[in-house]
């Protein structure tokens, strides 16, 4: 990290002190094994877990993890759902201070690896929701993969602050705020 930090010090407007790295990294965590999503769905060598969505008014985004247990690469190439007028694969990109969102053709799922759709990254964007969705509601999304074909899965609407994706709303055990003056 020191190699990365050094050039930053040449910019007088910005100091990303050690505490930033430590505390923000600590503020972001991933309890990926926490079973709070819908049941795992399998298609071919792919396993999709922890599918959930966040919704505000007539728009939202769906997130999940796809594991590829096979020996061949695959890719998510499409998503569809009856609940929305438009469904598309998107990616939020940026540096944390400026962000944008752009469509993606496919999301790679390497052999033996996984693709993670999560806030601030890849997501299935849901536009023009046909009916209001509330926390706890479940709806179907059909995913299409380049190799494994198509599969339906249930997606559950979650609160923005209820997730295990790094934006968890609760202080996790063992996580303490930084002491004043101590990086």
């Amino acid at each position: 990290m020191d190699r990365i930090m050094r050039p930053l010090r040449t910019f007088s407007t910005l100091v990303l002190a050690g505490a930033l790295v430590l505390t923000l990294a600590a503020a972001v965590s991933c309890g990926g094994d926490e079973d709070t999503g819908t049941e795992a769905v399998k298609v071919g060598d792919l396993e999709i877990t922890d599918a959930y969505a966040r919704v505000v008014m007539d728009g939202g985004a769906a997130y999940f993890t796809i594991k590829n247990t096979g020996s061949a690469d695959d890719a998510l190439v499409g998503a569809a759902s009856d609940v929305a007028g438009k469904v598309a694969l998107h990616e939020s990109v940026g540096d944390g201070t400026t962000m944008t969102m752009r469509p993606v053709e496919e999301i790679a799922i390497p052999a033996g690896g996984e693709a993670i759709l999560e806030p601030g990254g890849y997501h299935v964007m849901l536009t023009d929701l046909k009916q209001p969705l509330e926390e706890g509601d479940t709806f179907k999304v059909t995913l299409t993969f380049k190799e494994a074909g198509s599969v339906d899965m249930d997606v559950t609407v979650r609160a923005f602050t209820e997730s295990d994706d790094g934006m968890d709303g609760t202080m996790e055990s063992g996580e303490t705020p930084p002491a004043a003056g101590t990086p």
């Binding site: 910005l14 400026t98 004043a180 990086p183």
Partner: protein, 231 residues
């Protein structure tokens, strides 16, 4: 991590910044191979952050002056109305499905949890980066999902939002632009950082995308009770 540097950073600093911020905030430590610095302390001995979860800047940002109509159509004089308050300023848009609602929800949840002696001293101001689609009614309804006290303001044009963002964010600014999504739809490239002004009308601490509720619940009382007592 280096792949993030492709994403047209506004300058070299941004590229350096995104290595660290993206590594820790965006990619997190979710098996991406990034964020490995979490277990080390590369700048031991520095005390610049004064114990804030937010990103402390050495050259604080000045609170800008601007007046925009709020969601009731009443002119909102930002500098005047926020004088004496800890003020969180954000630039976003309501058709943003991922970043904006996530950021607003974290702040809103923290403000619901914190006691009134803190929250009475905090104002949240949202500047629309998409005035073409963010009607006053729509923005009000959208903000109410996160905080009914959140103040929504709507510039006359995206260019006006951009001009205010440039003054507010200084070196952290990048142009606000529309990105074509096809079929007449578009997304907006916008600042994802929440600027936190203290009562000295300066922002010493910024909050990039990904800051959790617990971090806000730690920092907001500090910003209110201690003001800025850092470096």
């Amino acid at each position: 991590v280096t792949s993030w540097c492709r994403i047209r950073p506004p300058g070299l600093w941004a590229c350096a910044l995104l290595v660290v911020v993206a590594g820790n905030l965006l990619l997190s430590a979710c098996g991406s191979g990034a964020g490995q610095g979490a277990s080390t302390n590369p700048t031991a001995g520095q005390t610049d952050t004064d114990g804030f979860y937010g990103m402390v800047v050495t050259t604080p940002l000045r609170k800008p002056s601007f007046t925009l109509p709020d969601t009731s159509g009443v002119p909102f004089d930002f500098a005047k109305e926020t004088e004496g308050y800890v003020t969180l300023l954000y630039f976003g848009y309501t058709y943003c499905p991922d970043i904006c609602p996530g950021s607003m929800a974290m702040v809103g949840t923290a403000l619901k949890d914190l006691p009134a002696d803190v929250t009475d001293h905090v104002k949240v101001v949202f500047v629309s980066c998409d005035p073409a689609r963010d009607t006053p009614e729509r923005l009000r309804q959208w903000l109410d999902n996160f905080g009914e006290s959140f103040i929504g303001t709507i510039p006359a044009s995206q260019a006006e939002a951009d001009e205010i963002a440039q003054r507010a964010l200084g070196p952290f600014w990048a142009p606000i632009t529309n990105e074509d999504l096809g079929g007449g739809d578009y997304s907006v490239s916008h600042p994802a950082v929440i600027v936190a002004y203290t009562t000295d009308n300066l922002a010493h601490v910024l909050y990039p995308f990904g800051v959790k509720v617990s971090a806000w619940e730690h920092d907001l009382p500090k910003l209110v009770e201690e003001g800025w007592t850092g470096s």
